[in-house]
Symmetry: C2
Subunit: 237 residues, 2 copies
Amino acid sequence: MSEHIVSSYDNDLEDLRRSISEMGGVAEKMMTDASDALVRRDTVLAQNVIVADKRLDALQREIEERAVLLIARRQPLAIDLRETVSAIRVSGDLERIGDLAKNIAKRVVAISDQAQPQKIVLGVQHMSDLVQEQLKDVLDAYGAQDTVAAHDVWERDGAIDALYNSLFRELLTYMMEDPRNISFCTHLLFCAKNVERIGDHTTNIAETIHYLATGETLTAERPKNDASNYATISPQA
Amino acid sequence: MSEHIVSSYDNDLEDLRRSISEMGGVAEKMMTDASDALVRRDTVLAQNVIVADKRLDALQREIEERAVLLIARRQPLAIDLRETVSAIRVSGDLERIGDLAKNIAKRVVAISDQAQPQKIVLGVQHMSDLVQEQLKDVLDAYGAQDTVAAHDVWERDGAIDALYNSLFRELLTYMMEDPRNISFCTHLLFCAKNVERIGDHTTNIAETIHYLATGETLTAERPKNDASNYATISPQA
């Protein structure tokens, strides 16, 4: 293989890394903004999140196309092939994270005229803060191909699920206390669920980092805490 | 290119098609079973759905790996490259459909001891019937590379969204009527949302068929009816 081909191949990989990093930045900002918009009932910020999603979708299509061409033209092997496949996977997860942030933003617009005690939102905010940290850490780990940091993110997903479960129960309780809370709390339930799913996607990215570094699929069961994800509670409880 | 290479390449593509078809069959059955389990409160059937998801996950990993190797080894061009990329995309959507069906099944287990009027479940069942039809039609369209049928599925997603919106309002009303309905109806809301999202994945597959046949991305806006997806209603309404 000539020097020239090797070097333009490296450039292709470097371009992919840059695009993933850009996508990560957009997805992180969308998530932070969606969460801030929810806490502050800021519909302008929410609209920004909705608009930003188009950029993320375009980036994902671009990354997928370039990665496929790279595989077809350069026939990468071993670590290079894994890095290209990983770029496709991670861009898919980031695109989904953007969709979920956009969904939260749309709900902010829907509930903007509802005057509800702020404390109801605080639980979602706390959970969102944790997931934002997960997302930041996993993107750093991907950039650095740091499997230890990735495994740490992977382990922490159980805590997010546990938090979601207690939030789920709390929101049901507010709904039972006062039917005027039902509509608002239902949207918050979906927001919380979206945040939890963003957490799942950070876990996917952590698994991709493991695959990228080792060539193996992480087959251990995820540290799921989702038993009470499906809890029911009664008004008398 | 020798006769031998062409023919083993065709075999590879044929294998991919067969695996996608198998995945489609498993995903369809999971969705039908999850819906039946919900209507009949059949926890045994629900457990079957949960178990079947492992098979779907394994099939997806296998298809992705084989498709990537096929691209790297055979460097397919034009339609063949698109078919291989499409196999990766469709297997991703089918895997997500399986996850959503599994999520419904888990909720069936959670609410199995709740005695609620059956009429509350009927709206979800009706919506699920429509989406099952969409899924069947889009899988047939993929097998036949039938863009007209795919476009028909794509158009019909708007009706599913509209149905979800009216169901959302209906379930909120039941919750406001009687706080004892809240826990049950919350799980049904998530089931309905999952069915709607399965509908979104059938739309994704329809778009992949368009890309496969034409090489172009369907850029028209989806016929979304999601304005009232984010509706709120008040107890006095």
